[in-house]
Every structure is written in C-alpha cells, then in structure tokens.
Symmetry: C2
Subunit: 381 residues, 2 copies
C-alpha cells in the first residue's frame, strides 16, 4: 500500500470494487529487473495486466512485450514501439493470426512442435518475410514453484532439436529456446537446471550446423503475498552464474518475461463487506462476504492457491477465523474456507477491505458480468 494509493482511495467517491495500480511501483519493478539482469532484454507478459497506462510506461522505459494474441500485439504496438520489440509468445496460434502478426512486422515466434513450425513457415513464405525467428519451448521440471505448470506448453527436451531443425529446413531462423520454471518460483536452482538442458540442446544443434542465439528464460519471478520472496538481485545473480557456468564466455542473447513480478505488487483492490453471518449458533467461524469474488478478479484463489494480504480499517483489533466469500449466487464463489482467514472480530457490514498484491491476473480474469455484477474496474495512478 503506497501513499499515492492511500491518497487516491481517500478521495474516491464512486462505489463498487476497484483495482488501483501505482505506476511508480511498476517503474521501480522494471528498474529492478533491468539492474539485476543488465544484459537481458525484458519482455513484459502483457496478459498479466494489459492496461494501456502500464504498457505505455514500460514502452517508454525500454521494455519489450511478450504477447499471447493478435489483440495483445495491437495493444503493444499502440504504445508506439516497433514490432521488433514484440514476441508472439503463445505456442498455440491460428495460422491467420500468425499471418496478421507477420504483417504487423513481428518476427519472433514461440513454437513447441513441428505442426506449429509449419504454419509459420507457410505464412512467412507467402508474405516473403526472410528474417523470421522461432524459439522452441521445452518442458521443464517446476520443482520449487508454488504453482508448478502443467505440461501444456513445451515439448520434451529430446524433441526440441528436431522442431528447430524443421524450422531451419523451412527457411526460418532456428533462433533459440525457451522454458518456464513455474509460477512464484522461489528455488533459484530451477534456472540452473533449465540452463543445463538449454546448453545441451545448443550443443546438439551446433553439431548439426545450426547455431542457436537466444535463451528465453520465461517468467516465474514471484510477487510477495504473505510470505517474503527473494529479491530481483538474488535472481539476477543466480541466473548470471548459471549462464556463465553453462555457456562460458559464449553467452547467448537472453530474454525474461516477467508478468506477475512486474505488476503484482503494484495493485490493490478496494472491496466492501456486504454481509457477515454465521451458519448456526455453534459455528465458530463467521462467513464474511465481499463485493468481489472468484468471478470478478479473484480467480487465483481457486484451490486457495494465492493467499492475498488483506487489510481492514480495524487492523489491530482482536481477530477470529472467517470464511471469505464473494457476492455471487454461485456456491464455488468462496475464496478461503479450507484454511479460514483471520480478520478482526469488529469487522462490520459496509467496511472497506483492501486486498493487496492484486495488480496481476485480476482485471483480465474477471468475467464479463456473471450474476449481473460488472467486471472489475481498474485505474492506474
């Protein structure tokens, strides 16, 4: 909670839940990444929060953009950056969307299988684009991540050389590799392990006459929720050490794709207590219902995965465990129940509640208006 957000909320006159982003925090986060990994290009993962103010700020600071779709490419281009600062980072693309991206001048594409390489090869040929770079994502063990990723993206490391050779054969530039160590990764050894694999794929392809140039080290940089997380500097040092260990003095070009790590701690949701009740006289746990829930921004509480820090006007008063739920007529719209949340006993209907570290994956996860409640509003200050 920054002074600027506190001031904004004090003067706020409208009603309903809102997410407030402090752009100064975003700027500070970008500066931290740039300082921690000075030779690495930062591609902000637009999907985390595509607010134009955030994209404009990052464009101005020199950031590049990792885009999941043509719309995100258009959002990035709207900042005025040139297309060479954009990566089409989704491994799952319609061929017509690849064509659109190529027409916009985008030349960097993620792949993880031969059929995707073929789509790009075909469209690059049609358009006559000569300098199209592809990087292949390989599957990486996510040990140490709070949310290990599924196997959705990436191929087995053994398959990556074949995918890149196929690109080379089709006239594309077999440019490099990518991996993702998992979200909220706090084990810095994870990058070392992935870079071991990456350097061996570099070696395999070099033997076959293909010189890879780039390693995209993905995201996974954590935001502080309730527990402390290592600082960007610590990540930078560990990653640089691993790069040197595996690539010696022939360091590849490197990319990182922070999303949560760039905007998560820059945003706060202000919400209101709609109801506090008990289910029976014997119940020890109260139910606290907010005017925001899983369907309007807090989807990442699914399985109680993220435990957001929550502040109230009554902090300091005696607390008791509460089930925390959203306002919709949907029984899954419950944020914390298995592990109830301690909140002040004095908390009352109508009180404001601040949900911290909600700058990433909230506004975009909101439904279009389930139960007639508006999508999560947001403002950048």
């Amino acid at each position: 909670m920054t002074d600027r957000i506190r001031e904004f909320l004090r003067n706020r006159r409208d009603d309903g839940p809102i997410m407030v982003v402090d752009l100064e925090v975003v700027a500070a986060n970008f500066a931290k990444f740039a300082r921690a990994l000075p030779d690495t290009r930062v591609f902000y993962a637009v999907k985390a929060n595509p607010a134009p103010e955030i994209l404009n700020l990052l464009a101005e600071m020199g950031s590049c953009f990792d885009c999941a779709s043509v719309v995100e490419i258009e959002q990035a281009l709207a900042t005025g950056v040139s297309a060479d600062r954009i990566s089409f980072g989704n491994t799952i693309k319609k061929e017509k969307d690849i064509a659109r991206a190529l027409q916009y001048g985008v030349r960097l594409f993620a792949v993880d299988c031969e059929p995707e390489v073929e789509k790009i090869g075909r469209q690059a040929e049609i358009i006559g684009a000569k300098d199209v770079k592809v990087f292949c994502r390989f599957l990486q063990d996510c040990e140490g991540a709070e949310w290990p990723l599924s196997r959705k993206f990436g191929c087995a490391a053994e398959m990556a050389p074949r995918v890149l050779e196929h690109a080379h054969r089709l006239g594309l530039q077999a440019y490099g590799l990518s991996f993702h160590v998992g979200s909220q990764q706090t084990n810095m050894g994870a990058w070392d392990q992935a870079l071991t694999t990456a350097s061996s794929i570099f070696a395999t392809l070099a033997e076959r006459g293909i010189e890879l140039k780039m390693v995209n080290m993905g995201g996974g940089f954590p935001t502080k929720y309730l527990k402390d997380v290592p600082a960007a500097e610590a990540y930078g040092a560990a990653i640089f050490e691993a790069l040197t260990k595996h690539f010696g003095n022939r360091l590849p070009e490197t990319i990182i794709e922070p999303g949560r790590g760039m905007v998560g701690n820059a945003g706060i949701i202000e919400s209101e207590v709609v109801l506090i009740s008990k289910k029976s006289d014997e119940d020890e746990v109260r139910w606290v219902y907010l005017d925001i829930g899983k369907f309007h921004g807090l989807a990442e509480t699914m399985d109680e995965a993220i435990r957001y820090p929550i502040r109230t006007e009554r902090d300091g008063d005696e607390t008791a465990p509460c089930v925390l739920a959203g306002p919709t007529c949907d029984s899954v719209d419950v944020m914390y129940e298995k592990k109830p949340y301690d909140l002040p006993v004095s908390l009352s209907i109508g009180d404001k509640v601040l949900i911290e570290a909600t700058g990433a994956y909230t506004t975009t996860y909101s439904t279009v208006g389930f139960n007639g409640f508006a999508p999560l509003a947001s403002v950048c200050i």
Copy 2:
C-alpha cells in the same frame, strides 16, 4: 444438435468460437417443467444465461425470474414483466441494492441470517413498502448431486425459525423457505429429504403464530451431458409425492428455479482446432488445442467436473485419447487431462468441433478478454 442449429452453422460466415442457442429447445424445456409441476411457479435463474431473447421468450410463456443482482432485475423488467414476477434470490445483498429492488417494485427476497433481514426491514420501512416477503434458505445435504454445493448459502435448519421470526418482528412477511439440493441432482429422494425439514420448520413457526406460505425448491434439475438423466416428469412426480406426504392437503405455494435445466441443452458451442501435437515421441496421448477454453466459456470443466459431449466432422473414424486444452498462455487452461477425451485420430488443425449442452454457465463465465481473446460470442435462433 437440432436441425435449426445445424442449418445456422452451415450458413455461418464469421470466425471464432460461438455459442448458438435454439430458442425452440428453451420453449420445450419450459413447457416440460410447467407440465411436470403444474401448480408450481417457475422462476428462471437468470444467471445461467441472461440473453435478452431467452428472457423475452420465457416472459411470454409465463415464467417468473430469479435474479442475483439489480442488473439482473433490470434485465428481467426489460422483458415487460411486472415486478411481482421477480425474486431477488441472492442471500448476499448490499443495502443500497435492496433499496433499488424495492423501488422497482420487487417484494420477494431471499435471506439466510438476521443481519440480512435487518437490511431489508430498514429499507422497507424507509420506502414504506408494506408487503415485503422474505424466505429463508436452509442448508441441505446434497447427497446424490454431481456437484454438492458448498455451505455458502443457507443457515442450519434449527436457525431458520429465528431468522423468520426476526423478519416478522420487523414488519416483513415471513413468507417461506428455500433450499437447494445441489447441481445436477439425479437422486429424486433429495427433494423428499429437504421437504421433511421444510415441513418441520413450517410446524415450528405455526406454533409461534407465524404461518409460512411458500416453499422455494430451488434448482438442481440436470442437463444431459454424457450420461442420461431422469426426465422432468419423473422429478415432478417425485416432488409432488413428497409434498403431499409432508404437507397433506395443506400444500404450500411452491416455486422452482431451474437455470441449467432450462437452457443447458439448448446451446452448442462451435469451436476450431488450433493445434494438435505430441509432447514427445513416446507420448501416446495427443494434445488437441481448441480456440476456446476455461477462460472463454468452459470454466465448468474446472476439476473436469462437466464432461461435455463433443462432436467432430470425423465422428465414426477410429479414436484415440487426447488431452483437450484451450488457446491461452495459461497452464491451467486445460479442459480434460486426468481423464483424456477420445477423439478421432483423423482430427486435423482447422477442423470444427461442436461442444454440446453448453447453453448454461458459459457466456457469463467468460472472462472480459484474457490473453486478448474476445469474450464468448453468442446468438439465439
């Protein structure tokens, strides 16, 4: 898949996933409920699908509306129905929203605790509304339901009389009770069990001089996905028998609130195969990526809860198990993985795929545009 939908899709020229609702199926469903329970008023659960065409059709057929918010009340009123055909069925309401509903003429409100009764009492007094009815939801065991509900809505049955007495004391009409047997309930004994509890609460309050008049039997009526489900007639017979058993010849006014049961089987999503790949040479299971996933309408595949029937242009060809995933750069955007889905081996990139029984809880569960993909489009024919 009706002939009308087939015809519509054959002539469709635009691109991207779409949900098509056949209004004739909705009309047939309403007629089935009306026939199965001729003395019960049907309150359509607007949240399942608030498309204006659906609301207009149901209004014309005589349906009432169960609304979760002021916006849903406004959507119901836009059909031209009078406010006495609307229930504000959410037990979690801001006091200002209760005031708005009262101003619109709504007089039927759900509650499950004394603080909520107080909000309604206060606003009814301010507005001077004399005929405000409240019904209290009690917690009901959901055995037999495919998705037993959480404890989010309702109070313990022992607490319900006190909640309703409180309403009576505040000048509101202690009107009745509600319960919900759980979603996709196929055990018809569930209603009998809930009605046992309801009749005993009626008796308790009668002893205290309060005569309840209404039982809201909620939703829970299933849609056919892959397994067959009992017909509306079977539900009607079982419910009528239970009502007679517990209330004798003094049957209360009754209400049902079908949502999924009204529109689920009326809608079909047309989607496109974006990519088919394998993660390694040894993998037996292919990954099939569609242009729709959890974030754009298929949220109910969470934990693989609903298994939608899927049709392809290649049905009849040899099949093999596939992991089915959505198009976003989000690793949780996977529909079926723990239990892969058998799809034709001949299925190819660019093929159309039909996802059946998707008329309920799809368009409204869609995000505002996660990853830059548009919210799920829909059309009623």
